[in-house]
Amino acid sequence: MANMRRMSQRSVFSRELMHRLSSMPLAITLLTVLALASVIGTVLQQNQAQQDYLQQFGPLWYWVFRSLGLFDMYHTWWFLVLLGFLMVSLSFCLWRNVPRMLKEMRSHKVYISERAFSHIKQQRRWLVSADSAEHIADKLKQALKEWQWRQEERDGVLYLRADRGNRHKWGYIIVHSAILVILVGGWISVQFGLRGDMAVVEGSSENEISYLKGTHTEYKTMPFDVRCNSFEINFYPNGMPSEFRSNLTIIDHGKEVLTSDIIVNKPLYYKGVRIYQASFGDGGSHVKLKLFDLQGDRPPRIIDTQVYQTYKDDISGFSFEITDFRPHNVENMAAAGQPKDFQDLGPSVDFVIRGNGLKPVKMRSFLQPLEIDGENRGSIMMISTTGDKRDFQSIGLGLDLTNPKEWALYHAFISRLQRLKLEGKNARRMAFKSAMEEVFGDQRPKNFQQMAVRVINGVQALPQLPWAVLPVLDDYDQKYYTGLQLAKDPGMNVVWAGSALLVWGLCIMLYISHRKLWFIIRPQDGQWRVEMAGISNRNPLNFNREFHTLLSRAEQATAHNPSKGVDE
């Protein structure tokens, strides 16, 4: 006895639970809570470096946010539980409603009670003379052929029911199953999928991908190697990149099996893995820098180094950490407010200069001097004291350092100025003249006037610099790396199937309305009284209109004169 009671209690409890889990308020709450939770992850940047978070929020909030997993929110247990809850709720919802709906769609119930009939908003009645009720029914069916008809006789009264859009309930079933399918597909993707990055330097190959797991990086070896034969960037005439293109070869067990180009939006497919063009960077280009000693009279020296390496110059005590090389630098050279004027400043190298007690500074040096309107304005440099590329400021050096004669002239001039310690305009002119004779003799080069201006500018600019040496890009042999993303996603097709179902189901659900018509035909004063009523489960605005069209068709079919109709 007690046992039975417990059992029935349990079944009451489980029925109640199921009721709750499949209820509409829960659906609304779930959707709203999911929406709110998703907001958090967009406001808080995800998967950044932990120090950045610490700096941004301070120790207390950092700890709170970290404990809640907010820095990788979409993979936290509570977010996944939320999604799981949605799945459970959807399943119960389907479990509870589908049998009922299928039954309803198949139901052949035609009889309608007086009471239920009177509650229907859209209705009319009229009188018809005819041989039999059957006769009228045939006429009605003939007039509204596109409807599904059923009929039943009870106590000498003929009940007719016509349906359209009966499939409507399938919409509900399809939509809610589709969401389940999509969630399952997503779960398969996360569980069995693979996605990671691979950087391949031009000319070399790679088989390891790296990916973030939570907040730390993990590595995985692929079953094949990817070789990058070349990487190139094409540009629009205004300097914006128009295309990033890698030529790749897949090497499987030592055999070259496939060579192909990939660009953004056009990946390569091999053994279930897609290979995408995702990023690029310098793959360790060789660069030659010319070091100019700003003090003393050592001739310029050439150093040979590579991007991502640090060169220590023992003579001056400075070190240069080469960080990047760029073959093009397209800049808008127009003054503010003027029409844009894009110009390529040519190749450049970025490096950090350190040493001799000076603050490290980021520099960018160019291969070519600056040219404006065909006139050589001397070499320039960009300097950023914060180390951030956005803070680069350009500095004109005056001199064209790519011209050895010009450097010689500068050097001869400045050493005379220092040696003579002369003051005054005249002395400077004398010193310049003597320097000129030393370097060029009698033969002045073409455009000497401009060179003279540059040398004078150089005398003003160069001694201001705090560094004893100045590296200038002299030669390069460029090499890119191509940043690839490799992905394998067995859940993807499940998601697409679910998506197709979802859209299809939504269209059924939102655009097909289930409309029902009832006709009750009963004898009255030797004639027949026809009562007609109709309802639609949605879109009353349209149905009001449709009902009136249907009504006049029904009335005409039964040869009734509407003016005698009895309005309800």
Binding site: I28, M240, F244, Q485, L506
Partner: protein
């Protein structure tokens, strides 16, 4: 009653056989265009397809399709009279008319383009589309004023002006967007040509046109002109924002970054804006609902109320707008995921734009549930459409403006 409705009702062109034949002529036209893309002589070039269509070869394909479609339909309608009675054709044929008219206008406008030597990428202010944008802005603003005036002076003249200028704005705007597509080929030897859905400025104008079209459909079918005051007020606010965007140099035609060079862009973006535009109309209906309710409470005898649609009607129109927008937005988001899968290797990466699209989707999904659950009033639903639209606006604008640090479309630039 609106102008187009009275026109449509009066003209036999929109009914029966003529509508049926014209409908199939348009279908033939589209099949011809598809045929050209698939089997045309020079092969299919995605972006310059618009030029292939206007070449001699294109005219032949399109013309053949058009004539064939019309001829077959004519024969069919003679052979079997009831085939000629197609409500679907009657309903859809005016969309074909509208599209053809826009394309014709665009072709006409190309004649006003400055000569090649007068065009420069750096200074695009002499493009003809700039003048059309101005005309569109003026038309929409004027229309908004007329719709609002109409609430207080419901004369038929003002009402006609309101509807008429709204339609004109749609046609000027639509043909202007097509013209901009054409214009994008005039620079840099055609290397940067692309559909005008690539930046905020362009999609804003697309959004106005779609919003107004959706609204005008409701106006055409249901007597709900007062709702126009609210929808067009939203459009007018958008127009001011667009003018501001233009003033900070966002109006130029620019090359596409590699990430956007995909046919998906042309499908995904416009479909998304069908969603946004419908949600804007739903918001207009919601605002009209709340306004009506507020006015009724203050003074039920107010004259303005006579012009307003009933509460039930407004509620229905809001629902109908969501019913148009929700599937479109769902499909657009799915296609966006398909694009992401093709471009980045994953259909979903919780990028802020993606996540906000999901949020918008959940909000309107919840709206649909709230509607059929018992005990909720029309008032709640009206507020839901208004706040849902605020969420939509954040997804559309806010994400780009405030969360841009995260937003990684165009990762490579």
């Amino acid at each position: 009653m609106s102008m187009t409705q009275s026109m449509a009702a009066a003209s036999p062109w929109f009914q029966g056989k003529p509508a049926f034949v014209r409908f199939w002529a348009y279908i033939g036209l589209m099949l011809g265009a598809t045929g050209l893309a698939l089997w045309g002589g020079d092969g299919y070039s995605e972006d310059s397809y618009i030029f292939q269509l206007t070449s001699m070869q294109g005219v032949l394909w399109l013309g053949t399709g058009l004539l064939l479609g019309a001829a077959l339909a004519a024969i069919a309608s003679v052979a079997k009279a009831e085939w000629g009675e197609s409500p679907l054709a009657e309903r859809l044929v005016s969309w074909g008319d509208g599209a053809v008219l826009m394309i014709a206008m665009m072709a006409l406008f190309t004649l006003f383009e400055p000569s090649a030597s007068a065009l420069s990428y750096e200074d695009q202010s002499n493009l003809f589309s700039i003048k059309l944008i101005m005309a569109m802005n003026v038309l929409f603003l004027f229309s908004a004023i007329c719709y609002i005036l109409m609430l207080f002076a419901p004369e038929s003249f003002v009402a006609r002006m309101a509807t008429g200028t709204a339609w004109m704005g749609v046609y000027v705007g639509g043909s202007m967007l097509l013209l901009r597509w054409y214009e994008s080929y005039l620079f840099m030897d055609g290397s940067i040509g692309h559909a005008p859905v690539s930046n905020l400025y362009e999609v804003f104008m697309l959004l106005f046109c779609i919003t107004v079209i959706v609204y005008l459909q409701w106006e055409k079918r249901y007597q709900a002109q007062a709702m126009g005051a609210f929808v067009m007020a939203l459009v007018a606010a958008g127009v001011f924002f667009e003018i501001w965007l233009g003033s900070i140099g966002q109006a130029d035609i620019k090359p596409l970054v590699p990430a956007l060079q995909s046919y998906w862009m042309k499908i995904h973006v416009p479909l998304n804006f069908v969603g946004y535009g419908s949600f804007a109309v739903a918001c207009g209906a919601g605002m009209a609902y709340l306004t009506r309710q507020w006015l009724e409470q203050r003074n039920p005898a107010m004259k303005v109320l006579k012009v307003f649609p009933s509460l039930e009607q407004l509620d229905q129109l809001a629902y109908k707008s969501v019913a148009v927008g929700f599937p479109a937005f769902t499909l657009a988001t799915i296609l966006g995921a398909a694009w992401a899968a093709e471009a980045w290797g994953g259909y979903w990466s919780w990028d802020p734009k993606e996540t906000w699209a999901l949020i918008v989707w959940l909000v309107y999904g919840a709206y649909l549930h709230v509607r059929i659950s018992h005990g909720w009033q029309g008032r709640t639903l009206a507020w839901w459409t208004v706040s849902g639209f605020l969420v939509t606006v954040f997804c559309f604008l806010g994400v780009n403006m405030y969360l841009s640090g995260l937003h990684s479309y165009g990762r490579l630039s």
